[in-house]
């Protein structure tokens, strides 16, 4: 099993931790952030295979985080994972270069399938 490094950004702490644990069991190294600013800081220091980003963050809205990531010319794929997303949000995120826009709850197998798909695609 391939070792992926993932950054999970979500203010729902329990959810983020649980998802990280399950991805760990599937051989992924996960970092968890509860705030947008924190995530941006972490991304400054460390590079990841993928970022899982929630939209409704208490400090910076998800789309703003996404656009700041793009401004820093980071090519890390970002999957937006949200419980509140509207159609407008989806459009905006895809315009900002999100890899995918997924509604919560999402099956872990589907998530793993997406990871493998990204892996297969040429960088």
């Amino acid at each position: 099993m391939k070792q992926y490094s993932l950054l999970i950004v979500d203010d729902e702490e329990r959810f983020a931790n649980m998802l990280a644990r399950r991805l760990n069991l599937r051989g992924c190294a996960c970092e968890v952030c509860y705030r947008g600013q924190k995530a941006l800081d972490v991304l400054e220091r460390q590079s990841f295979f993928l970022v899982l980003l929630d939209l409704h963050l208490p400090d910076i809205y998800g789309t703003e985080v996404l656009s700041r990531i793009r401004k820093r010319r980071l090519t890390t794929p970002v999957i937006v994972l949200t419980g509140h997303g509207t159609e407008d949000d989806r459009k905006k995120c895809l315009e900002l270069g999100a890899y995918d826009f997924i509604h919560k709850p999402v099956g872990i197998d589907k998530l793993m399938a997406i990871l493998e798909k990204i892996e297969r695609e040429p960088a």
Partner: protein
């Protein structure tokens, strides 16, 4: 029969005549169309008829006055002509006597044969003479020619004799003589060479005088006769009394000229009286000439004109009333139709808005549930992972924790679902006790996440003593949802929303929702409750939210007011009656 008539009448009744359905009351501009209709008709008719009536009355008066003066003029003319003729008749008699006296002298006049001859000649040339007599200074009749044997009679104590001695000439009243024929005495005083005097007297029959008067009579309504200065009738009158009796008209006051007056209060209707006090150049007479005309008989052409005017004005009034009534009915009916159509649309929109709110609510709830569901999903998945991947399950604290997490998440979903169910139930139109604090917190709960993300502070302040509010919870909830939605849309991140509820007076509750968001410019404030008015960009707002809110507040017999300053914020104040009164409720239900 009457019922049938009423049914037939109802077919003509305009639609607005029955009052507007109370169901539309919050949305219609006017409620009492019958009143508008009546006032409209009254004003239109009054405006149209007033000038017509004033002009007609003015015209009428003008014609009446000119006819009166014309009648007076005509009567005066007749009286004046008749007066001249009567004066001439009397002067002719006096002149004849004076001529005779001067021509023949005392000697021949006292000769009976001569006197007889003179009488005969005068009768031939003059006519209407009955007798002639010569009376001495002492009043003794010296000579007489005529049908009676009157020689030697003493007139010294008679009124006419005394008068004649004083005035030289005398004209008597008309009286019945021995032959019962009306006649008049004229007499002249003449001097003899020795300085003594005698009186030469003639009795005239009135036949010719009456003929003269009759010749001036015109028409059946005219009467022309002579009265003496005491008002006794001297020549026959057709309508105003018998001869030698007092006339039934008032005696006109003295005037040296011919005059005419109108008497309106005589029994036979208004009359025009022309009169003249007759006096000859030689002697005064006791006569007053009366020309009396009944006004009624002289008004023929005027009455014809008047009936034409009356017909014309009457028809005009009828046409004005008819046209104005029809016009007003038509206009009010159109107004009613437009108003009803508007109200129907508004009511429909309120319904649509309710559905939209429900849809928004459902979407909001679904979103809210997604987060706990995601947690359940991950936690349950992890437990499965524990079994499948890690093979450790017994006496495992982590497992228990995770199961607790699942139960927690399910609990969260349950809360949201319960709220959703509660929300839906409250749409039933039902008057009930409302826990305002709870209602406010329920409404705000749906904005809790948004407030958190957008860093919006929400203050709620519900005074303790406003328990016992009784109203339609669904409508109140929708009012709150709409106003809070508006506030959230108006606020930038980091703003403050305040929701306050307090008792106002004894029986009202005041609800204040204020934000320090973008506010509204002053010139848009009067329009914000109008349907389809919106300041939001296209596709963002329907412009119905506040219009519907306004309708809902009205339905709850409350009032809504707004204060706003651009870039400073907006405050909506809703005041509601604490008790939704019984008769109001009946209105509500009967309309439904």
């Amino acid at each position: 029969m009457i019922a049938k008539f009423r049914r037939a009448l109802r077919a003509f009744q305009p639609k607005f005549y029955r009052s507007v359905s109370a169901h539309y009351n919050p949305y219609v501009t006017f409620t009492n169309y019958r009143r508008i209709w009546l006032i409209g008709i009254f004003l239109l008719i009054a405006t149209a008829l007033l000038p017509l009536l004033v002009v007609t009355a003015f015209h009428y008066q003008l014609i009446q006055n000119s006819i009166d003066s014309e009648l007076i003029l005509r009567t005066e003319r007749v009286a004046s002509n008749a007066r001249r003729a009567v004066t001439f008749f009397l002067e002719e008699g006096l002149d004849a006597l004076r001529f005779t006296v001067n021509e023949f002298g005392y000697g021949r006049l006292t000769d009976p044969d001569h006197l007889q001859e003179i009488l005969r000649n005068l009768k031939l040339g003059f006519g209407g003479l009955t007798d002639l007599s010569v009376i001495s200074q002492q009043g003794l009749q010296i000579a007489y020619a005529g049908p009676f044997k009157l020689e030697g009679r003493d007139y010294s104590d008679q009124q006419w004799f005394i008068q004649c001695r004083k005035q030289n000439l005398y004209i008597s009243d008309i009286f019945r003589g021995y032959r019962d024929v009306p006649h008049v005495i004229i007499a002249v005083k003449a001097f003899r060479n020795d300085g003594s005097y005698f009186i030469f007297r003639a009795t005239l029959e009135t036949e010719r005088l009456i003929q003269i008067l009759d010749s001036y009579k015109s028409g059946a309504y005219a009467d022309i006769f002579i009265v003496n200065r005491q008002g006794f009738i001297q020549t026959p009158s057709a309508h105003y009394g018998d001869i030698f009796e007092k006339m039934s008209l008032p005696l006109p006051s003295y005037s040296s000229r011919t005059e005419a007056v109108i008497y309106n209060d005589i029994g036979s209707g208004p009359i025009i009286t022309g009169y003249a006090y007759i006096s000859t150049q030689l002697a005064h007479t006791p006569f007053i000439l009366m020309v009396v005309k009944q006004k009624q008989g002289m008004l023929g052409p005027w009455q014809e004109l008047r009936s034409k005017i009356t017909w014309f004005v009457g028809c005009g009034i009828l046409i004005v009333i008819l046209v104005m009534t029809l016009t007003c009915t038509y206009m009010v009916n159109r107004l009613y139709q437009a108003d009803t159509a508007k109200a129907e649309t508004m009511a429909l929109m309120e319904q649509n808005n309710q559905l939209v709110s429900m849809g928004q609510l459902a979407a909001g709830v679904a979103h809210e549930i997604n987060n706990p569901l995601a947690l359940i999903n991950e936690t349950a998945g992890y437990i499965k992972d524990l079994f499948v991947i890690k093979h450790q399950y017994k006496d495992d604290k982590e497992l228990l924790e995770n199961i607790d997490a699942i139960i927690d998440a399910v609990d969260r979903c349950g809360t949201i679902t319960k709220q959703l169910l509660g929300f839906t139930r409250k749409f039933d139109p039902k008057i009930q006790q409302v826990d305002l604090a709870r209602l406010i917190s329920e409404v705000l709960a749906f904005h809790k996440k948004e407030a958190e993300y957008r860093n919006i502070e929400v203050y709620v302040d519900v005074e303790g003593d406003i328990s016992g509010l009784e109203t339609d919870q669904g409508k109140l909830q929708q009012i709150l949802v709409n106003l809070v939605n508006n506030a959230f849309q108006a606020m930038d991140d980091g703003c403050i929303l305040e929701v306050r509820a307090a008792a106002e007076e004894a029986d009202r509750v005041r609800l204040t929702i204020s934000d320090n968001g973008c506010g509204m410019p002053e010139d848009t404030l009067p329009k914000i409750f109008e349907p389809f008015f919106t300041t939001k960009e296209k596709d963002q707002g329907t412009g119905l939210g506040l219009a519907i809110t306004y309708g809902l507040v009205t339905k709850l017999h409350g009032k809504i007011a707004v204060e706003s300053r651009e870039n400073e914020g907006t405050t909506f104040v809703v005041t509601l009656p604490k008790q939704f009164k019984e008769e109001m409720r009946e209105n509500e239900s009967s309309s439904g």
